[in-house]
């Protein structure tokens, strides 16, 4: 399975919801808190073209926001 990375901020309710979804589905993921790491924030913007969270990368695919259908499709 492609590696799943979730870019988040701690104050983002949709990020909490997204992480809950991944936990419930049993999908392992790495969380990167872009609020505390400006370099990682820059990495997220360069990799995904996004300046908003949550953003998830599945391998080299990008899912914007909380989109369970898109995530299921990419991960299955």
């Amino acid at each position: 399975m492609a590696e799943v990375t979730v870019y988040t901020t701690p104050t983002c309710p949709w990020c909490q919801k997204l992480k809950g979804f991944l936990h419930d589905e049993g999908i392992p993921f790495t969380e990167i808190n872009v609020a505390e790491d400006p370099d990682k924030a820059r990495e997220m913007m360069d990799k995904t073209g996004q300046r908003g969270v949550p953003v998830t990368t599945v391998g080299d695919q990008v899912v914007i926001g909380y989109d369970p259908e898109a995530l299921r499709e990419l991960i299955q």
């Binding site: 949709w14 809950g20 609020a35 300046r51």
Partner: protein
């Protein structure tokens, strides 16, 4: 009453699964109604709320967590839930003794209900200017709580002079944004306690009586074009635009219902709309004060009213009640 396993006809179809819709579902199911809930998500606007501190029974709880608890309680009852966006509600048949409504989802096709509750809530209002959609997530944000930390040391704009606009400014100052331009079409209307925090900070520049005309950029937002009342245009170099201009009801698809000038469904104190058998509750209605606890209460009221309506109207009083065939569809 009905057996939805054998037909697409439910006693009650609830559109929306925020506090109003889910509370209505629990109340209706406990009255013995066969309930279908159709919603594009669970929780609605509450998912945007980091911390809820005024829902009784919880001193403080994360918004999404509170909605998760609502969902668990709804699923404990015999409620059918379908994730879909409803595109149309029609009166399929209306007679003195019985009505049937057709509720059409974009993915799931048409379901039928003998009564309907509208609980579709609201969404953030958008500006409707060029660049707004193109740069959504690329500098345009509707959630300062979520995205403010990505604008540390940046020059940004907040559009909206109400409480949520002022709060967005405070969020951005809190993450050390270099400069915050606050754009408001009229004067500032935020509470004094918030305005004091905003206006005393020298990083804040206020543009009263300015309208946003365009959000500009290449891959990401690079600027904002505003115009004042004299018609003078000004381009502000900004990396982020936070839009906080209030909410609008998710009611566009309800062309059969009477609505206010703001698009809110007109209801009486029994949650009844202009169409007998269709009820509405929560933020999508004209009921004042948009609060989680009020939406939940209105959802309970709508469910009880729908049950009373069905008891009075229903041929189910004479037996197990209408299948689509017996309803004449």
């Amino acid at each position: 009453m009905n057996s939805p396993e054998h037909t697409d006809l439910y006693d009650l179809v609830i559109i929306g699964a925020g506090p109003a819709g889910m509370t209505a579902a629990v109340y209706a199911a406990r009255k013995g109604l066969q309930v279908l809930v159709i919603s594009k998500d669970i929780g609605g606007q509450v998912n945007w709320t980091t911390l809820v501190e005024n829902y009784m029974g919880f001193e403080e709880i994360q918004g999404p967590r509170l909605m998760e608890k609502f969902r668990e309680q709804m699923q404990d009852e015999k409620v059918v839930y379908r994730e879909d966006e409803v595109s149309q509600v029609q009166v399929q048949m209306q007679r003195k003794a019985e009505s049937v409504f057709a509720v059409t989802g974009r993915k799931s096709g048409t379901q039928y209900g003998r009564a309907v509750i509208i609980a579709t809530g609201k969404r953030p209002r958008s500006l409707g200017v060029p660049g707004e959609e193109k740069f959504r997530g690329k500098g345009v944000s509707f959630c300062s709580t979520c995205d403010a930390p990505l604008f540390r040391d940046a020059v940004v704009a907040v559009v909206g002079g109400g409480n949520s606009g002022a709060q967005a400014v405070i969020d951005l100052l809190g993450v050390n944004a270099r400069q915050v331009n606050l754009i408001t079409e009229f004067d500032l209307t935020a509470d004094q306690v918030l305005l004091e925090r905003v206006l005393k900070d020298e990083r804040v520049e206020v543009y009263r009586y300015h309208q946003v005309k365009e959000i500009m950029g290449d891959r990401m937002v690079q600027g904002l074009r505003v115009v004042d009342r004299s018609g003078e245009t000004r381009d502000l170099p900004v990396a982020g635009v936070f839009i906080e201009i209030g909410l609008e009801p998710n009611t566009e698809f309800l062309d059969i219902l009477d609505k206010s000038a703001h698009g809110e469904v007109l209801v009486d104190c029994h949650c009844r709309t202009n169409i007998r058998g269709i009820f509405a509750a929560g933020d999508a209605t004209i009921i004042p004060e948009k609060q989680i606890i009020i939406a939940a209460g209105e959802g309970a009221k709508a469910a009880i009213q729908a049950w009373k309506y069905l008891m009075r109207q229903s041929p189910a009083n004479e037996g197990t009640g209408g299948s689509l065939v017996s309803a004449g569809i």
